[in-house]
């Protein structure tokens, strides 16, 4: 059962890494604008002409 000491240690370490990742994201301003990046990903490199746009494209 002593393996539990190690397992708990590892799981907390893993959780701490995620917490650190969250701190880094927050500090680098990734939570400052939670709206624009969602739109940015929708832009293609080149929009093909002649493709009929659907209404979902509008915001």
């Amino acid at each position: 059962m002593n393996i539990i000491y190690m397992l708990i240690g590892v799981s907390i370490l893993l959780a701490l890494i995620f917490l650190a990742a969250f701190f880094w994201a927050s500090k680098s301003g990734q939570h400052d604008d939670t709206y624009t990046p969602g739109l940015r990903i929708l832009f293609d490199d080149e929009v093909k002409p002649g493709i009929e746009k659907s209404d979902e494209d509008h915001i």
Binding site: I8, H31, Y35, T36, R40, V47, H58, I59
Partner: protein, 799 residues
Amino acid sequence: MLQTKALQLDTICFHCGEALPATPLLNDDKKFCCAGCVGVYSILHEHNLTDYYAYNDVPGQTHKPKGLNFDYLNEPEIAAGLVDYQDDKITIITLYIPAIHCSSCIWLLETLHKINPAITESRVDFLKKQVYITFDNQELSLKHLVETLVNIGYEPLISLQDVVKSQQTQTTDRSLITKIAVAGFCFGNTMLLYFPEYFGLSSFEQDFKTFFGWLNLAFAFPVVFYSGRDYFTGAWLNLKNGVLNLDFPLALGIAVMFIRSIVEVATNSGPGWVDTLCGLIFFLLVGKWMQQRTYHHLSFERDYRSYFPVAVTILEDGLERPIPLDQLRKGHRILIRSNEIIPADAILLKGDAKVDFSFVTGESKPVQKVLGEIVYAGGRQLGAAIELEVVKAVSQSHLTKLWNNETFRIEKDTIMTFSATASKYFSIVLLAIAFGSGLYWMFHGDATKAIASFSAVLIIACPCALALASPFTLAAVLSIFDKNKFYLKNTAVIEQLARIDTFVFDKTGTISNPERAGFTFQGNITAEQAQLVSDLARNSGHPLSRELVKWLNLPQHYTVNNYREMVGRGLSGRIMQHEVKIGNAAFTGITLEKPIPGSTVHVVIDQQYLGYYLFTQQWRDGLKALTVSLRKGANLHLLSGDQDHDRMELMTIFTDGNQMQFKQSPQQKLDYIKALQEQGQKVLMFGDGLNDAGALKQSDLGIAVTDNINNFTPGCEAILDGASFSKVPAFIQQAKDAVKVIHMSFAISLIYNIVGLSFAVQGLLSPLMAAILMPASTATIISFTSITARLYARKNKLL
């Protein structure tokens, strides 16, 4: 579907979507409404950026060339105040661009490097309508950058307030998020580590008990000393000032839980209360965060600085030179070009001044000024360039000296919210019970039980649910208001709104609808004659003519010969053998028995006087119903900066003539509100222009009414979209209901507290019970407040 779309595109401008004029401009088989739109299109076309039009139909905004002058950006002193960062290679600047409104805007503004390679990076923050631009300052000047943006239809708004911008709010916001993250992290981990304890450990697993105990304690430290630090400092500060607020029992509960946990783990006498402790702080911080949410795209702190330019052009020895506004002195000769703002009270020396004071008064009709007349600061010159001599410094002007008033220097008193009042009594009762039960067991000779019950009372009564009742109710109401286009600065405004007993309205732009003015014709006119008037008036740029054409709404039919316009007096022309003359009484050659109040346009066709058009204000939809409903429980007042020719009509709405004041200066408006407050009334002010800024600030609750929330609004507590003006009674009812919901949730959380306390005073409270009661009460309160607030909103027809 395809066909209707094609048809639509045929009658509207390809760039901005406005209706095409009779002879649209053509470029690339596409039709445009004006030279500005064609200009933008050709720039984009030239740089292969026509994808702009692929993401949205008509993404542009009408782009009438304004001939703006950005010479001042070349002055290093002025530019230095605007940029975020600058070295000898690159410059980083944040620009506010009100025109940002769709995904095409984001795409284009982030592809700026294709237009000018010197722009190395540009990123848009859509909600804040800001763009962060990094550019090579050897290749491109700031002035050029701004001009490039203007040329593609994205004119940045550069105002005096940019120079004094502060970014403090963001850092506090971030630190709260980190605190929540830490508390949440520890809460999750301790919950897991407590499970074995609650489910029971067999005898050979007792080793783990100590291990888990110490591990839990380790998690408690960052939560108490980092995440929960504010509760201790808050409680301490309040105690020093002799105030008992909710922070005190919270801090007490946290401290007791923490100390008892250490003692229990160290003496191996129990598992401690760390999971309850972490959960408590986590939920409290989430509640705090809910309360702090703000609207990034709205500003509630604006004053004249956010609207005045950064610089002004002065004339020295016949040479033009831009100087920063704070260096403008009395006696300077300034040059105001078309569409520029007059920054200080000045005498008109040269040129034809036609000034739009809509920012100041809400009145959209431009005012004509003659040479030698004083032009007050805050107006926008619409005609050609004019020269003026400054007679007062910027801060001493008729308008801006309002901000020197002491009202603007003191922070508005925060109202005593219900939770603040209740928590005072709560703390006292709590301490009484804790000491009472402790002493009771002491007298019965059971010292261990005395300490156990004393600390258990402080733990279980820790008013987590109480502290969350207000933020969650108010946040729910805030989002309901938001859906109805009523934007509040913060949640405290809702409780303030529920207590208002006096309403004060500004007239122009607030209760009158600037978009919808109307005319009535006194006399007889045929449809054919109205057509003649419309065709004649179409040629004039005079605001009254433009309003008249818009109101008559007739398509152009005839051409006008011999057109003549006497500025500010009238127009004449020959249309289809008819001699048509419209204008004021003197111009049309008629004599009036008595002057007609209001703006009139007299009509003479073929030397025959037909009558006159009378310009009438249109009130906002539902004004009458609104005043009837508000009057039931409150006083209504009207404060107008205008002449009183609408008095009779307004009498039917406001009924009491003594409560209608006309010709009020900004200072008088402020004083009027102050006088009402001195009579003990809680005053709500509806205003829209800078001239209401003082009254909005002085009042207990200032609401700015606007038809476009991205337009300028003076500093206030709330911004109301004009379209929702008729819903004001519903908003007030909803605010009152919100206070009711808070009362009810207080009652619910008290029931939880009483249940917990009945165990605690007997010294029977176990950590497991606390670990169940605390989250259960929190969950009940959160769901109860959000559901009930929405039910009330449905009743008030706000959802």
